[in-house]
Each structure stands twice: as structure tokens, then as C-alpha cells.
Symmetry: C2
Subunit: 337 residues, 2 copies
């Protein structure tokens, strides 16, 4: 039986997750990339994207839906466009291939896009946008999913939770990033509330009859609602069209139709955009200007920057290590057996 | 005295607006572009961006804040980046110069960005994204403004209303577009409610003491709120950083600080992005796929596409002409005198 240290470093956790995935059929490269992604979420206190997802990754290997040995391929269909064909593997390895190339291209062209296709995705998006901003550029990322969110005016699931992530480089080398579902609440958080028997706030979703409810199980059977009413629905729709039609992959309704229901990640594409502010013809004064802007924002009582809680959790994990919850420790132990 | 027909065509209205602007100091090209923009808003039933804005345009000419004869200049600081220096003129002429060049560039590079700088802007953004989608590409646009919206957790105006516009080309040559403020309600609509003595819904804003209110005058003196809570605030922040830092122009707090309070448009940049889905390496099947997707969305009871009301109003105006409100007719008559 594999021993799980307590606490353990993000690297150690990534290694254990990779080992578990290899035991269930993944190749080393795919497993290592998913391991890094899952460990980053645990490190950052993002429970709903951490070990909570591991049984789903394993299920999709067992069912044969995902090719755990897929070798993603990078191409450039246009001067400012890159594409990674994930070849039906998981998203993280495809992104680890595509993001450095995207940054390099955006430094040449000023703005560039990366379409990740034919992958299975249910990770957070902040790792890829942070990787762009850590290299000094501005990053945007979005992905669709399977039907979970009702459109404006409708009562049936149609959009995915369709997250939008954004990251901006800070003068001290750190990054300001947000990663937010177009749904009022992330699916994973509703799943955790259902698991724990907790209610969710009003406005999060509707039951199968279209009635407002705070029961997470009823919402999972019914439909989630977009954040901010029709404006959040507009953003969900935009993400379907950018990550589906433009990137060249499935809409959420298509991904839902082809999914085998194994509980693993759905098929779906991702669109990532990188912008190099240094190439917009106004020098580098934007660096100091944006720092002054963010300082003025923080000078207002009650404000904080997006991602600040994540950064605090991360700093703690990097110095003190990660302590797994009993549920996660048991699940990981089980999958390592 | 100039005769105003009733009804009148959008072209006739554009011409009258241009005439009024020339009478108050604008050059022909700047006046014609603003005229087209104002007339398009009236044509589309967007009262808060139509003739309602004309006194502001005139005020900014009278005060000397805006150079009504400015000749915008187009450059390309990077292979996928264009920039228009508006030379302290109004935004519409700068956009009419930049958008066709942006579309041409995005057809070459797959994705391209246009930064419009040193302009004065208070028009809607759907004209520029529609112009992109009418040429078969996908368009995104955003701009900051002056401080009007409280950040997440704060009670003071900091962000502009910071609209985000998106347009997608339909198979029949039409366009699906949205243009939505990051604020819960567009500033212009709150101004109109204040003018008319009407209340606004809860969640639109807070009074100068930070208390929730439905009094539009109190909100105009206090702060607007973002749509959807902290998620809308994240989008407002992203737009500040993209239209300010990346595009190379002012943040809303800077634009507010330099404004002379003449009631005209504030200084500020705009970032426009065009994507050519044909250049993403997956052929043209996205056209049929996105049509099927939108049809499935419309098949859900209660749904409609963003911009559908605008398209209905536009079709009416194009066949029946535009009938000005008595207030607008009087104001235009006055400015033409």
C-alpha cells in the first residue's frame, strides 16, 4: 500500500495522483499532467477541482472514453492561431504543449489564439491563464461543457457552466487571475453541497419543473441558472460560440449527447487567447499604470483582488504542505491500492 | 430653420445630426461618423445612445475638449495588432477607419486586435462588432468610461459601466450581437429614469452613503452596482485592464480625473478583437453547426437571441422610417437652429 504523507507537497500529491492514474490505464505523460492539475487545485484550496475529480478521471479511463496514452499534436493553421489536437486525451497535457507555444507566438504577433480540440476537460482554467501571465502576457481562456445551465428565458439545461478565466501580470512577477463559471455557482460546488446535504443560495438553480429551489440535488436534476440573469446567459452563449464554433469543437449540447455518462470529464474544446501589451505600440508604461490602478482599487474599503484567497491558500500550501481531507485521503488511498 | 421629416430615414437622421455637429464646430468627417452612430441607435430603438447623447457631443465641441476636426491615424505596431490614434476626436470616425482594416488583418492572421486610443467615446459598441460579423468574422469589443460602478466589496464608484459587445455571423448574412454594460443597468437608462422621475429595480445601485436604493438620482450621486455581484465586477475589472492597460489608454479613474465635466463623452480607449473561424484549421463546418446550435436554443420555450429586439426595431425603422420623440425632435431642432 502506498503511504500518503501528511502534510504533503504539491509535487508529492501530483506524483501520487499520476501513479493512481497510471494504475488505471493512463500513460505517464497524460497522468503527470493531470496530476499537476489536480494537485494545483488542492494546493489552492479549490476543493471542487481537486481530488474530488479524481474518481471521474479514473472512470473515464476505465470506460475507455478517454485515451490515457494520447499524444497531443500542435499545429498552426494561421499566423496568429495555434491548435492542439488532444487526440481524445485529457486537457492538461494538451495545454502544457500549447500554452508555451501560444505565449511565444503572441510575443511575435501581439495577440494569438490557441484552440484545444478533441480533449476531455473538467479542470479549472486558471492554471493556463496564470501560465500566460507568469510569462508577462495577458491571458483569457474559456470552455464549454455539457448542458447544465438554462438559457435566458428558458427552464431547461442548455449551456455548460462555461467558465471564463482571465489573468494579468503584476509588476512583482505575481499574477492577478479570476476563473468564474457563467453559472451562478460552479457545478462542483453544487455537487459538494449535495454530497454534504447543504442548501445552496437562491438564484443558483431551478428544479426539473422550472421552480426556484435551494436544494442542490433538485438543481442537479433540474437546471443551474446563469449569474446575473440574461447578461450571464449572454456570456455563456458567447463562450459556446467561441470554444465551440470558433475553436472547432463541440457545443455543450453536442458534448452531452455523445457522453457515455461515466462521470468523467466531457468532450469539449477550449479557446485560449494571449495578448502581449508590449506589442500594442505604447511602450511599457502600462506596467506601472496598471499597478497604480490596482493599488487605487485596493485602497477602497472592503475590496480585494480576484484570486487573492487562492493566492493565500497557495502560499500556505507551499510553506506548510497540503493536508488532505479524510474523504480525499480515503479516495486516493483506494485508487492507489 | 431646418425641416425635420416625420418619419425620417436613418440616413436622413444621420445627415441632420451631422449638420448640427458641423454647426457647432465639428469637421465634416467627424460629424458624419457621429451622425451615423447616433442615427443607428435611434433606428435600433436604443434611446439612451441616440439623440439623447447629442447635447453631450455638442457640449464637448463647445468646451473644446474634443477636436471635432481630428484626422485619425491607423498604424500596425505588431503583425496581429492595429492601432488607431483618434487624435482627441470622437470614437466613431476612428472606428470606421480601424474596423475594415482589422477584419482584413484577422483574415490573414486568424485573430487580430484593434486598439483605439485618444478618443472620446460614449456610443454603443454593437455597431463595430456588427460590422465585423457582417463581414463573416466574430467580433468582441470593450471600453472603459469614468468611475460609476462600485467594485466588489466596495461602495465607491471606481469602474466605468464598461460594456462588452460580441457579434457572431449567421448563415443568412445577419448577425447575432449583444452589447451589455458590466453594470447592472446602463448609465444612460438610469439617466433617463431620473429625467422621467421613475424608480429603477433593486440591485442597480447604492446611494452616496452606500445604502441600496431604487432612486435613480441617488444612484447617479452614489454608485452603480455590477451585474451578478462579484462576477460582474470581475468582468468590469478585466475590461479596465484590456481597454486601459493593453490598448494603451486611460483607466476609468484616470478618465474621470481629466474630464472637464462638460457632459460630453469621456476620454478612453477601446479594444476590439476579430477572429476568423475559417482560419482555425477546421474548415467551414462551424457555420452549419452554429446555426443548428442557435436553432436548438430557440426551440426552448421562452428563449430568444440577444439583440433580437434590436433587430425587430431596426427592420421596422428601415421600412417605416424613424419617428422622433417630441423631446428629441425639439432638441435636434434647437441644435440645428
Amino acid at each position: 500500500m502506498t503511504e500518503i504523507p501528511d502534510p504533503l507537497s504539491p509535487e508529492a500529491l501530483a506524483g501520487l495522483v499520476a501513479t493512481a492514474l497510471v494504475r488505471h490505464g493512463a500513460g505517464d505523460a497524460q497522468a503527470a499532467a493531470v496530476g499537476r492539475t489536480v494537485a494545483a487545485a488542492e494546493r489552492d484550496g479549490a476543493e471542487s477541482h481537486g481530488l474530488f475529480r479524481l474518481p471521474g478521471y479514473v472512470a473515464s479511463l476505465r470506460s475507455g472514453k478517454v485515451d490515457g496514452a494520447a499524444d497531443p499534436e500542435l499545429t498552426s493553421p494561421a499566423p496568429a492561431v495555434l491548435a492542439v489536437d488532444a487526440r481524445l486525451g485529457f486537457a492538461p497535457l494538451a495545454l502544457e504543449l500549447g500554452i508555451p507555444a501560444l505565449v511565444e507566438r503572441a510575443r511575435e504577433t501581439g495577440i494569438a489564439a490557441l484552440a484545444v480540440r478533441n480533449c476531455f476537460h473538467f479542470a479549472a482554467l486558471w492554471p493556463e491563464v496564470e501560465a500566460i501571465a507568469e510569462r508577462g502576457l495577458v491571458g483569457l481562456a474559456m470552455t464549454a461543457a455539457t448542458p447544465m445551465v438554462a438559457p435566458a428565458g428558458g427552464a431547461k439545461p442548455f449551456f455548460g457552466t462555461n467558465p471564463l478565466a482571465f489573468a494579468f501580470p503584476r509588476a512583482d512577477g505575481s499574477v492577478m487571475a479570476f476563473d468564474q463559471a457563467s453559472a451562478a455557482m460552479a457545478r462542483g460546488d453544487i455537487m459538494i453541497a449535495a454530497r454534504d446535504g447543504a442548501a445552496v443560495p437562491e438564484g443558483v438553480g431551478i428544479d426539473p419543473q422550472g421552480r426556484p429551489t435551494t436544494d442542490p440535488a433538485a438543481i442537479l436534476a433540474g437546471a443551474q441558472l446563469p449569474f446575473g440573469g440574461y447578461k450571464g446567459a449572454s456570456i455563456a452563449l458567447m463562450i459556446e460560440l467561441l470554444a465551440g464554433a470558433v475553436a472547432g469543437d463541440l457545443f455543450s449540447i453536442e458534448a452531452g449527447a455523445v457522453d457515455n455518462g461515466d462521470g468523467g470529464p466531457p468532450r469539449g474544446g477550449e479557446l485560449v487567447i494571449a495578448l502581449d501589451p508590449d506589442r500594442f505600440g505604447h511602450g511599457t508604461a502600462w506596467r506601472g499604470g496598471s499597478e497604480a490602478f490596482l493599488e487605487q482599487l485596493l485602497a477602497i474599503e472592503g475590496t480585494r483582488l480576484p484570486g487573492s484567497r487562492r493566492n493565500v491558500r497557495r502560499a500556505q500550501a507551499l510553506t506548510q504542505g497540503i493536508t488532505l481531507s479524510p474523504v480525499n485521503r480515503a479516495a486516493l488511498t483506494d485508487l492507489l491500492a
